[in-house]
Point group: C2
Chain length 221, copies 2
């Protein structure tokens, strides 16, 4: 039976891009279904009834949800470039940092640019502390995964691309090369990996997406 | 070299108990270091400088943090009863539900009992929806892991023990056997597994802990 791999996602979403990166690292061919997140499709609701969120990977009709869970599934299912290392302690570290990106960094980084007044000041302070932690983690390494990109690098993709663009769109300066030199070295290495570089989302499209989101956030205040 | 396994935790914490359950499933001997979470030890701050939280597993001096990450490490490091299944799709499902417990259930379940007024009503409503999802997931299964307990069951330990006690202490009724029959069957099966039963935290101690936390929450309002 021919293998069927389908990805329900949105090209502008860092979570979708994480999964695409993992599929491309494994050389897996897949069909991409662009989801309109403002008008969710019956397909998405059927395959991710719990969260109703992208991305969803369908492998021979079986759905897998949550980007980090999907990446581990891909790593365990297909040969090719490994995404997690073999050693259990190194695997634990990769999972720890990937979880850190989602649980700790995402919200404060977004808020540091999108909120206002006191809330923004607090988010900026928090974001700076988090970026310092990441900068420090990278002090002796090229990637979070060591010499090659791994789970934590893929999970940090929103820092290397999306977060820089949000800062540009909003004019808010949170991260700079001077403050986080190792993190900026990592950004440079990461976005220049061929697999990442060839699949970066066009900046002008993301600029449009963020302008829309920021306007929506302001309108609901 | 003799193996050194040390767990920094608090006996009353469901997260610590998760790790203890995993260690016991593998038959790993370990030293337990009770942490005073209101006055964190230099040891905790040294080994979990990022989150400064329990539990931390020290294996031959190397720290592993975050309970779900620790459980996967334990599963990959020691033989004995498997915690995650072998099949990648089943592993993905276990990880999905374990993550669901932490990301979605913990806060609303706690708030449904500990908050007041409108906030409480909203949390209760949300908690009921989440419990319904869990009840439905268990419809054809004995455990979240299938026939035997696995990662998601261990992650759901706060529902089987802590959440029932919180409801008793506060007098708030969120979950009942009538509303969630499959979930209550699961609770019964889970707490009666020998490894869980022999290590349940004494109810009277948890009652005292929750009374303290609820008073503290009220005092800061």
């Amino acid at each position: 039976m021919a293998e069927e791999v389908m990805l329900i996602g949105a090209k502008g979403s860092p979570f979708t891009r994480r999964v695409e990166t993992a599929l491309k690292m494994k050389g897996v061919q897949y069909e991409f279904m662009e989801e309109d997140v403002s008008n969710k499709s019956p397909l998405l609701l059927k395959y991710n009834p719990v969260h109703k969120k992208i991305p969803v990977l369908l492998h021979n009709g079986k759905p897998i949800c949550e980007s980090l869970v999907i990446i581990e599934y891909i790593d365990e299912t297909w040969k090719g470039t490994p995404i997690l290392p073999e050693d259990p302690y190194e695997r634990a570290k990769a999972r720890f940092w990937a979880k850190f990106m989602d649980d700790k960094c995402l919200q404060p980084l977004w808020k540091s640019c999108s909120s206002q007044g006191e809330e923004q000041e607090k988010a900026k302070e928090e974001a700076c502390e988090l970026l310092k932690i990441l900068d420090n983690e990278l002090k002796d390494k090229k990637f979070f995964g060591g010499d090659t990109i791994g789970l934590a690098d893929i999970a940090a993709n929103f820092i290397s691309h999306w977060f820089l663009i949000i800062q540009e769109v909003t004019g808010v300066e949170v991260s700079t090369k001077d403050k986080y030199p190792k993190l900026y070295e990592w950004i440079d290495e990461f976005v220049n990996c061929s697999i990442i570089k060839e699949n970066l989302h066009p900046k002008e499209e993301l600029v449009a997406v963020f302008r829309g989101r920021l306007q929506a956030a302001t309108a609901t205040k």
